[in-house]
Each structure stands twice: as C-alpha cells, then as structure tokens.
C-alpha cells in the first residue's frame, strides 16, 4: 500500500510542477537557513572536552578592592593568590596560565622575526586538557621547578617554521632567550578555546574571540615570566603598576588557574579550600571582598555566555523564517488537497477509509519534505560556505557533521509532515457522495 501511495504522490506532484517546486523550495529555504545557523550554534556551544569536562574547574577569587560586593568573582587572579592556590596542590592537577606576545626567531634562519602569542603554563596543562602530541611530549613538573628553557609548539607553527618535520630538539629564540623544543602538538582546535575564556559576562554578546586558535608557543610558567619579563598585560589594575609589564608584585589581576579534581567528594573539599582561602585573605585585610567561585568547565562556559550574541540572533531569525515557510507550505498543501476533493471522494466511494485518504495525503507531504530536505541540505552547505567567508574567528569551524546531516533530513520530513497534517485531516473529511454529484 505504501508503495502505491508514493506512486500516487509522485504522480500528483508531477501534475502541478510549479506548485510542487514552490512547496519544495519553501521547505528547502526554511531548512537551509535554520540548519546553517543551528550547525554554527551546535559547533560553538558543544563540549570542548567530552567525557572530561565535568572534572575540570576554573577557580576565581576577588583581589580587586571594589566597594560594592561584585556580582561575579574577578575574571582572573593576582600573582600572589594564584601562587598560593596553585602551590597548595589541593587538586589532582593544576596549572596557572598567562598569555603574552613575544618575538620569535629561528637561530640561523634568514626569515624575519615573528611576533607570536606565547602561553606560559605548568606541565599539568597538557595532561589536564588531553592535548594531543605529534612529536615529543610535554615538559615535566621538574622542568617547571627548574624554570627550564623548553617549549612546546603547535602544528601550525611547526609547519611554518620546519615544514612539518619533527623539530623536537631544535632551538627557538624567544626574544633574547634560546629555548629547546620538546614537543610538537597535533592540530588542536578546541571550540571554544575554553582555557582562555573569561570575562564573557562583560562582553555584551561580543564573544566571537573566544573561538580563536591556541597560542603558537607554550613555555613553563616561570620560565615564560622570566623570558618575556616587561611584556605582560594586565586584565585590569586598581593602581598603575610600578613596573609596566612586570606584574608579579603589582596591584593587578592577570593569571588564570585551572584545576582537575577527579571525584565529587574531593570537589566539595576543593571548593571549601578556595572559600576558606578567600575568607582568610579578607580577614587578613588583603582582599576587600570575600567572593570566590570554583566552576566546572561547562558551567564556566555558560557563565561566560560563550556563544556570540550574533549567532544566537541568527538562530532565532532562521527559526522565525522556518515558521513562515511552514505556514506557507500548510496553506499551499491545503489548497492542493482541497482542489482534489473530487479524487478523494471517488476513492472514498470506492471503499477507501478516511484513514487511507489521510495516509495518502501525509505520504505526499512526506515526499515533498524529503525533496525539500535534500535541496535544503544543498542550501545548508551553501550557507556554511558563506559562514566560512565571514570575517569571524570561528569561520574555519563551520562544517556539516554527520549528526547535523541527519538532523537536517529529519527536520525537513518532520516539518513537512507537520505541515501536511492539518490539510490531510481536512481532506479526509470529504464526504464520499457529496463531491461525486458535481463531477
């Protein structure tokens, strides 16, 4: 029976090619726009470290001496709080992070020096965030202790400087210091670049920069502070720092702390530890506000409203558009089915049940939906191509993956069945005899 309905549907659709094309196009355009924006949303709001994100935490205290109790703890920390909390080693893994711009040169090369972003962090960074290596490995905690002049570089930089060859053991000149490469990363593109996300609640939806690429060079935390001394930028200060760019003893906040805590009992203990530290610092008069927080990775991304406002707006617009296309299709299907009232009453008179007529109409809408889905898929691919040409940091991420491919087809068929439901029920109400009289 189903095969017969499909055949009937195709025949009916062929009879009115213009109307059919209009309906397919309306569904396809609606599906294309909503799936383009939904795919971007899906890529930008996903879990950057599935399976591990619930064990990673971002730690905040409030060294900034504000008069009022702030709604959020400070986005980053001052050096002393960071060293106290990191040095206590209460979590299973912990790393401080600070970024800076640095001049890089390959000794013996004639290429002009580059100005790159450097991340200075601890050895735990790599194990904590499952950072994949192509050559070599991370430095050791011992290297952290010795302020060792070693570095890990990204696949991009390795391609640029060493044409993708194994560069472990080679030397880079960072500003005036020589560092030895100990590891080269595999291409690594977390979305968002979660470990640098902070302060999103102040960005008013302008958060596209959270989706940039990772720093090109990574060095041990203290070694980085020594190599690039004088070139560090504060997040903010409450007095002008006495030595610009050297922030260790400045009234400024500039360091991030990430920790990994493996089980929930320990998480509670760790939260207590941070809260106690904050309370104690306030009691000693070093903090004016006792506001602290320990947020899991996904909570932290939510707090920072990482998905850019423009993207959220586009999703809303696209779904409003899909709703309009849907209304349109319902109207056109209604017109089509009611015009064929004669056909249906003949079928009813020959013994078809009301259900059979409804099913036939639904199959016809389903066929339109499937066709609309495939055309919509092409529109989605075209839409994503347009997104990739947009001047946004996440442009290179915009590709259709298998789940979103399936969602597209599903959405198209569901949409058209929904659109077909009301007209089909209407068509089913046609009385067997009444229409026959006028034939």
């Amino acid at each position: 029976m189903f095969g017969y309905y499909v055949e009937l549907a195709v025949r009916s659709l062929k009879r009115n090619p213009v109307l059919t094309a209009l309906m397919v196009l309306a569904i396809a355009v609606g599906i294309g726009t909503s799936m383009t924006t939904l795919t971007v949303m899906h890529l930008l709001s996903g879990d950057p470290l599935p399976g591990k994100s619930d064990r990673l935490f971002y730690v905040q205290v409030t060294p900034y001496p504000s008069d009022k109790v702030p709604a959020h703890a400070n986005a980053v920390m001052d050096y002393r709080s960071a060293m106290d909390l990191w040095g206590a080693k209460r979590a299973d893994r912990q790393a401080l992070l600070v970024g800076s711009s640095i001049r890089l040169h390959v000794p013996g090369s004639t290429a002009p020096p580059l100005l790159l972003e450097m991340l200075s962090t601890h050895a735990d960074f790599f194990s904590m965030f499952d950072v994949p290596f192509q050559y070599g490995s991370a430095w050791t905690p011992d290297d952290d202790e010795r302020h060792a002049r070693v570095a890990v570089i990204t696949a991009d930089l390795n391609n640029k400087l060493f044409r993708g060859e194994n560069s472990v053991g080679k030397t880079l000149r960072l500003r005036d210091s020589d560092v030895r490469i100990v590891g080269v990363l595999k291409p690594w593109r977390p979305s968002p670049l979660f470990y640098n996300v902070t302060g999103g609640w102040m960005a008013a939806g302008d958060t596209a920069d959270f989706y940039g690429k990772s720093e090109d060079v990574m060095t041990p935390f203290q070694a980085g502070l020594e190599i690039n001394d004088g070139n560090f930028s504060q997040f903010t200060c409450w007095h002008l720092p006495p030595n610009p760019g050297h922030l260790q003893d400045s009234p400024c906040i500039w360091v991030k702390l990430w920790v990994q805590v493996d089980d929930s009992a320990k998480v509670a203990a760790y939260r207590r530890f941070v809260a106690d530290y904050s309370a104690q610092q306030k009691a000693q008069g070093r903090f004016r506000q006792d506001v602290s927080a320990v947020s899991s990775l996904m909570d932290w991304l939510t707090i920072n409203q990482v998905v850019p406002g423009d993207v959220r707006l586009q999703v809303w617009l696209a779904f409003a558009f899909l709703a309009i296309c849907l209304c349109n299709t319902v109207g056109l299907l209604l017109a089509k089915f009611l015009r064929r009232g004669g056909d249906f009453s003949v079928r009813r008179a020959l013994g078809a049940t009301r259900g059979a007529v409804v099913t036939q109409c639904l199959v016809e809408s389903g066929v339109i939906g499937l066709a609309g889905g495939f055309v919509g898929l092409l529109f989605t691919l075209a839409g994503l191509w347009l997104v990739r040409r947009q001047p946004v940091p996440y442009a290179d991420l915009a590709h259709l993956d298998i789940p979103m491919f399936l969602v597209t087809l599903l959405l198209a068929v569901a949409t058209s069945l929904l659109a077909g439901a009301v007209p089909a029920l209407r068509a089913g109400r046609v009385a067997p005899g009444l229409q026959l009289k006028t034939l």
Binding site: N243, I324, R339, V392
Partner: protein, 403 residues
Amino acid sequence: MRMHPIFAALRHHRLATTLIVLQIALACAVMCNACSLIAARWHATQLVTGIDEASLGTLYLDGFEPGRANDLNARVLEGLRAIPGVTAANVINTVPFSHGSGTVGVTLDPEHQREGGVVDVYLGTPGTLQTLGIRIVEGHAPTPDDYRPAGEFFPAQANVLVTRSAANHMWPGESPLGKAIYIDKTIFRVIGVMEHLAIARSPETPGGEDWSIFAPALPGPTLAGTYVIRAKPGDIDAVMHKAREAIATLAPDAVLIRDKSATLQELRTARFANDKAMIGILLGIIVALLLVTALGIVGLASFWVARRRKQIGIRRAIGATRRDILHYFQIENFFIVSLGIGAGVVLAYAASLTLMLYHEVPLLPPWYVALGAGTLWLLGQLAVLGPALRAAAVPPVVATRAA
C-alpha cells in the same frame, strides 16, 4: 462596497485565513526587528573619528627592546619622512581602529570617588594634532612646553584636550576648561575641547565611542613603535605600501604587525566587516521573507479564485462589473494583511523586548513598524493583483454551466 460578503466568505475559510494572517504576522515581526537591527549596525559603522581618515595611515611595530626605543623612533621617523608623498609622520600610542592602548578609568577628584568613565588616553607627540587633523572647538592646543616625557604610562602632569562628548559626560552643563582629571597619581588639566576623537577599541559603554583624552607627550621608552603618517588622500595607499616595505630595512630589530599597519580606511573596513556581514545577512532574510510571503499570498489567492469561479460568474451575471470583482479580492487581501499586521505589531514588540534583554538595542521605534506595515500592505496588493485580475476576467456565462 459592502464588506459583509467578504467577512462571510472568510468565515468559511477560517483555516486558510488564519494561516495567511499568521504568516504575515510573523513576517511583520521579523521584518520590523531586522530593520531596527540593521539601522543599529549601520549607525555603528558610521562612527565619526574626528580625524582626516582619507589622508592617514599607521604603522605598528612591536617586539623591540624598550632600551632601544628612542633610537628606533629616530630611525623610523627619519625613514618615513624621506618617503616621497609623506607630508608628516609622528609617534603616537595608538590611532582609532588600531590596538588598544591608554584605556583607563578616570576619576574627577583626588580621592578617586567620582568616576568619570573609561576613556582612551591618546599620547601625542609634537605635531600629531595637526597630522591627525583634530578640530579644537573650545580652549587651545597644547603649547610646545606642554609636551613632557611620557613616563611609565602617562606624564605625571599634563595639560590635555578632551572630546566634547567626554566633557559632557564628565561635567554635564559645565565648561570643562580648567577642570582636573585624576588617574591614580596622575593629574590632567583640561585646556581645550576637541570636536571628536573616537576611541581606538570597540566601545564597551554604549555612547562611550567618543570618550577620549589627548595628552601631549614626548617619545620615549614607553611611547614608541606606533606611527601615524599623513599624505595626500590620493597618495596614501602607495605611501603606505612603500612605508611597510621600508620598515624591514629601517627597523630590522622590530616586528611589523601587518594587520594593524594600514591606511585608516582599511582599518575602518576591517573593524566594521562583521557589522557589514550581519547587515547583509539581515537584508537577505528580509528579501527571502518578502518573497516567501508573496508566494503564499499568490498561491492562496489563486486557489480561492479557482474555487469561487462559479460564484464570480453568478455575480457577474446579475450585474457586478469587472471592477467590482477586482475590488472584492483587493479589499479581501487588504483586510487579511491588516489582521496580520495587527497581530504582527504585538509580536514585533514582544520580540523587541526579548532582544533588549540580550542585545544592546533600543525598543523598536514606531517608525520601523510603520515601514514594515506599509511594505506588507503594498506586497499584499501586488501579490493579489494577478489572481484578482484573473477573477475579474471570469465571464458571466460561467454561471450557466455546471461547476
């Protein structure tokens, strides 16, 4: 024409009428808000910087050692001024649309209790005011004696210029001349008011895009590496091309930040590329929306005309003119679109209120609603014209035939 038959007919087609009303309502809501968003984006891209953008370019060098800054400034300035076509070149800390520098929260009293907002402090060396082409509307420019070493961040004391908009924000209704601005231990004394000088970064405070201070300073270890170049508007592209090439030999010890070393017009384009893209997307959505809505109206109107062929024939047979039939469908369409617009205005304001929660947009101005309503009425009439003309062409003889 009597409206009664139209209402009666629509009551028979409640479902179809509801659908088209719903579609028009949604289209109206989306279109009004999209127009308002486009206007907000467009307004942002029309930022007045207060400098002669068409004649200016900038170079941004980094990665040099502060100890060699004075030497670097001397070498680069000499080299730049030697390029044919360059009429002026000066050291500055940053320019509009370039990197953030000198962004600071200021207070208006020595105890730091009265906040004056977050401003950008431009540190300009002698000649920079003329090079940028800043217009002073009150007070006077700094004298040569006012230019002092920049210190670690800012000169300890300086006679500065503020923009009109910053002055109005800091001292509403008062003359800013002679007033003091405090940044930690630094004291600025206002000696003049600039018409405009846009901040370098994207503004965080709405309305704060023109809150700038121009502080006179001498080049030094902390004021080096960023240069502003002036040439005739027609020459600036060629001049900047030569300047970027010259840097490799002039300053081999520094790194040229390429995306921040361009003409001011290129930097402006880059700054607003995102807004332009969003305007394009919104315009595309509006056009697609209108097309789909028009198609919906055409489809449904054609259906109705086909269904009512016999009734139209009867009306014609008992004396209705072609014009009467045409008007019937036009009035019916006007009525349906009006219902849609009525519902659409409610939806539009609901959407606007929701948008206000998440975006920096004002409540939908009534002007855009009027525009949206007008467009939809016009679109409705255009879309229904074809089917209505076809209805008007139905001959009276149809009435005598069976269905």
